[in-house]
Subunit: 280 residues, 2 copies
């Protein structure tokens, strides 16, 4: 059943989608008992904990916005969430951010050791492409979805953003590097999540262009709100009020971009609003 965000409170819609996505992820992840079990346990531990599931929710909403079925887009939704999960595991490693906690629990390498942490991240990234390439129907669509994910996750996307971010630590912020991080670190994968949904949902070229604009805007908003919540990134440079105004303008642009897709795109508009006003 498709729940229309226009008819249900957003919180209900999000909860319902989170549950659907959780169930799908549970199915695509290898069972914990399957050998070598420690890696499967580590993967499940990292993916099936609490998570807002922003990216896969956007993927599903984008597919529905162009008339695609929820189930048809679910592999794309799972793939993008696995990539997000892998990036968190590797980000938390001692050589990177060195975080002992993730979502209120020990981070993957704290729980399973550093070697398993590295390998669990590698395995999740591999699994994301395994899921997409397991599709037997519509190979041209799914290869395009995989292309999108690889672009969003690679050195011209998420990994590129992380590299710039690492290199910037302890330096005076440079405007060019700041812009790069802003659009790449989280934005590239969010844009990819939206486009993957559009592709899986059978978007026309014109509809895909609208979704792309939407994805770029909400990707930027996501990072700006992160910066506002953490009081870092662009906030110390731009100031709080200008950063908030920028995020508001972009949210308006995102909504405008998909308005002509009609009622089916209303969840996307409400999700954009949610991403602007979120408090965590």
């Amino acid at each position: 059943m498709i729940m229309h965000a226009t008819r249900t409170p957003l919180a209900t819609y999000l909860k319902h989608r989170q549950a659907l996505i959780h169930r799908a992820l549970d199915t695509v992840l290898p069972p914990a008992g399957e050998a070598p079990s420690v890696i499967h346990e580590a993967m499940r531990y990292s993916v099936l904990g609490d998570g807002k599931r922003i990216r896969p929710i956007l993927t599903l909403a984008a597919a529905e916005a162009v008339g695609g079925a929820l189930e048809e887009a679910m592999p794309a939704a799972c793939a993008v969430e696995l990539v997000h999960a892998y990036s968190l595991i590797h980000d938390d490693l001692p050589a990177m951010d060195d975080d002992d906690l993730r979502r209120g629990r020990p981070s993957c390498h704290k729980q399973f050791g550093e070697a398993i942490g590295i390998l669990a991240g590698d395995a999740l990234l591999t699994l994301s492409f395994a899921i997409l390439s397991a599709r037997r129907r519509r190979p041209a669509v799914w290869i395009a979805v995989a292309r999108e994910l690889a672009r969003g996750a690679g050195t011209f996307g998420m990994v590129g953003g992380q590299v710039m971010d690492i290199q910037g630590v302890g330096r005076t912020p440079d405007r060019q590097a700041m812009d790069y991080i802003l659009t790449h670190k989280t934005g590239a994968l969010i844009t990819a999540a939206v486009r993957m949904g559009g592709l899986a949902g059978g978007a026309s070229r014109a509809a895909l262009a609208k979704l792309t604009r939407y994805g770029e805007c909400v990707g930027l908003v996501f990072q700006l709100v992160d910066d506002l919540l953490d009081r870092d990134g662009v906030v110390p440079v731009w100031g709080e009020a200008p950063t908030r105004r920028k995020a508001q303008t972009l949210t308006g642009e995102a909504t405008q971009a998909v308005a002509s897709l009609g009622r089916r795109a209303e969840p996307l508009a409400r999700l954009a609003e949610f991403l602007l006003t979120r408090a965590a």
Copy 2:
């Protein structure tokens, strides 16, 4: 031009193939000057150094054995070599094997730092799927090639073998774990390399089955010869002579498996012999 191993010395054939593969890898890797340049430098450093290129050579030979063109299989060859390169970078990390040297030079994390080492590995794995999903023609073929790579590289393949290997350190070798490592750690990716070539080369179902058997045998031989050269793995348990005999038998089986593919498969037979008799 296709060089027939039957008409040229194997050393010439290998050198020619290595040069072709090197050129192709050089093209698929982002230029070192492209931002963020450090990650692209690290990727190029790790991939474009000396390498035997066993896996991509097998991919190309498998494609040709079923009548495919060399150029058509090159993206598959590059993808499998990038996965191999990523696995070496992550294996060398302090939390894994902690190796300072790789192919006579500082390992990636020694040269670029641990964070960039982790990210360069991630980026190479991502790039391997980017290359496969960039194919616009024959999407059903290329999605099957990607499926094969994901299977060979994941937790039921290479990563699974590494996990078992890590867990076995300092323990009494257990027969089941030893068999698992033997078939998974290097064998799974080698089998995938051969099958990927077959798929890219347009193999029939029957021909693919023959290539699969060939790949499984040479994958095992590769690991057995590694163990013989390093005097570890199965050698302390099975003994040197039985291990060598097993490798010889498997090489015979590999050659037999592809014999009915005719003259086009002769390079595969000669490569199997080479893998058995290699001294490094």
